[in-house]
């Protein structure tokens, strides 16, 4: 500890106003820096996983399955894999960041400042969207070399990429708020996110499913994300992209309302 040094003006004991924008921006920066600092694990590894899926399933099934007339299975699979990567990583980012902060105890650094529920929500969700899109873009950039795509309706691609990432970022936020331990979060992942992703048409067109699973797909919001996203590539889909967009938007609003309510009340964050 230094002896008292000459100080021009030590703290003026009045609270300083501070700007809400700076608060939001800082939390967004911190959340983005968090995954960026371990990007080998948070970005590179999931890209590799996506590519492995394509190599294995694409190679095995290219000659046997033709989900849409005139579309190779590998070409069909790429949008599914890209979207699956976006969804899983957007979810992983917000949920794991929050649960780590809870378990490490450093969540207190976010609970003491005057951050609003909306700032908290916006920063966590936006950072998770960034990670989801970074991984999705990576998977796309690598896999596209294996099965060049003839993109039919490109405007839909960013729309669904963004909506899918945003929705799963919010679901991840909720999972992070609700979970108190890593195994609870793992349950969310294993029993909700992975089944919903696998049953949403990543690997197949739901038209090929038995009737029960076909109906089940229709109540799974993930199905609409992937179906709409795939429409951007082939201009063909199981349902209209407009309808998908509606379902995805409504789902996003519903989970966002839930997450914001939890944050406002401090549910499981403040005792």
């Amino acid at each position: 500890m230094n002896p008292p040094i000459a100080i021009a003006a030590l703290a003026t004991p009045t609270a300083r106003a501070g700007s809400a924008w700076v608060g939001f921006r800082t939390l967004l920066y911190k959340e983005s820096l968090r995954f960026w600092k371990v990007s080998f694990q948070t970005i590179v590894a999931p890209i590799l996983t996506g590519v492995l899926y394509l190599l294995v399933f694409g190679h095995m099934l290219d000659t046997r399955v033709e989900p849409f007339a005139g579309v190779h299975y590998s070409s069909f699979l790429i949008p599914g894999l890209v979207m699956m990567s976006i969804l899983q990583n957007a979810f992983a980012n917000s949920s794991s960041s929050l649960i780590q902060s809870k378990i490490m105890g450093n969540l207190v650094f976010l609970l003491l400042p005057p951050l609003t529920a909306l700032q908290f929500f916006g920063a966590y969700v936006l950072a998770s969207i960034l990670r989801g899109l970074a991984v999705g873009l990576g998977v796309f950039a690598v896999t596209i070399w294996f099965a060049p795509a003839d993109i039919q309706a490109p405007a839909w691609i960013p729309v669904f990429a963004l909506m899918g990432a945003a929705m799963l970022a919010v679901v991840g936020l909720i999972a992070g708020i609700v979970s108190e331990k890593f195994d609870q979060l793992a349950a969310f992942q294993n029993f909700l996110i992975i089944p919903a992703t696998f049953l949403s048409g990543v690997f197949y067109s739901v038209h090929g499913l038995p009737p029960f699973w076909h109906v089940f797909s229709r109540v799974n919001p993930f199905f609409y994300i992937i179906d709409g996203f795939r429409y951007g590539f082939f201009a063909r889909s199981d349902v209209s992209p407009w309808f998908s967009l509606l379902v995805v938007s409504l789902s996003f609003c519903a989970v966002s309302a839930l997450a914001l309510t939890m944050l406002r009340r401090g549910y499981k964050l403040r005792t």
Partner: protein
């Protein structure tokens, strides 16, 4: 009269079966150095958590610098810097990153000059670029203090800040806190080291089982309750009349608590007339620990809820 730094009114906090705080009233004036004492489970940390917005009150209100911690939480939190009891840190960042980020959460960009100054004062300057993970416990504690000060809050709350901290840091920390207090900051601390509270705090609240048992200036508390302590070594035994005053006894010594210094002479006289010779005598003020033990013993434990 100016606004209280912290105003706690009829504050109650119940967890499922436990009443952690029971209708606590407390007003801490601006510029005070205030101590919050009590045994483990007395409700100190719960009280601080509610002041800081980390916990919700079951009923009652709290204001920081006149701002309600619920309805006007943003202004209340801006006015408050809290050093948490747990040694928490974020392993992803360096000390400087941590402080910049914390400053940003309070809406303050370009706060570098103040961050440097806080680091300098807490002897953290040469650790600025070191990752939090690589710091010792004492250093992590300093960063926690720095984080609490990064937005220059008028009210600073330290929850057991010197638990498990080496002597050097403890001294340095108190020196820094005294200076912040001189500059007009209100400082509230909880501590287990009663000696520390006695030295530092102008006023003290003693909590037990969620209630305030005493709330007084430190010197009043010491004077009112404890009087003086007289340690004696006697040859010939203690006169029965003084038995009641004994607070400590071993074969060699006996310690008496007398309500007032003027009674020391009478006590010695009683020994003489009893035929005992005083071989050793030490007279001193009772310290906070005696007050504390006396208060805690006087108030019967409440039975369960």
């Amino acid at each position: 009269m100016s606004i209280a730094a912290i105003e706690v009114s009829a504050l109650t906090k119940r967890y499922a079966q436990v009443t952690a705080l029971d209708a606590v009233d407390l007003s801490i004036k601006q510029g005070e150095f205030f101590g919050l004492l009590g045994p483990n489970g007395a409700g100190k940390t719960t009280l601080i958590s509610i002041i800081a917005g980390l916990a919700h009150a079951t009923s009652g209100r709290v204001k920081v610098m006149g701002h309600d911690v619920v309805n006007d939480y943003r202004s209340a939190r801006r006015s408050l810097g809290v050093v948490p009891q747990e040694l928490v840190f974020d392993p992803f960042f360096t000390v400087r990153e941590m402080l910049r980020i914390q400053s940003g959460y309070f809406g303050l960009a370009r706060n570098e000059a103040w961050i440097d100054e806080v680091m300098q004062n807490l002897d953290l300057a040469d650790k600025a670029e070191v990752n939090m993970r690589a710091l010792s416990g004492g250093m992590k504690r300093r960063v926690l203090v720095a984080q609490a000060l990064v937005h220059r809050p008028p009210v600073i709350v330290l929850d057991e800040p010197t638990a498990g901290v080496d002597v050097e840091l403890r001294q340095g920390l108190w020196q820094f806190m005294r200076r912040l207090n001189r500059d007009g900051h209100t400082i509230v601390l909880t501590t287990h080291y009663l000696e520390e509270a006695q030295q530092m705090c102008g006023r003290i609240a003693m909590l037990k089982a969620g209630r305030v048992l005493a709330l007084e200036p430190t010197h009043d508390l010491l004077r009112r309750i404890s009087g003086v302590l007289v340690a004696l070594r006697l040859r010939g035994g203690l006169p029965p009349a003084l038995r009641e005053q004994v607070i400590e006894e071993d074969p060699e010594h006996v310690v008496l608590r007398l309500p007032h210094p003027r009674e020391v002479g009478a006590a010695l006289e009683a020994c003489r007339s009893f035929g005992s010779e005083v071989e050793e005598l030490e007279v001193g003020p009772a310290d906070l620990e005696d007050v504390f033990l006396q208060l805690m013993a006087e108030t019967p434990e409440r039975s369960g809820p």
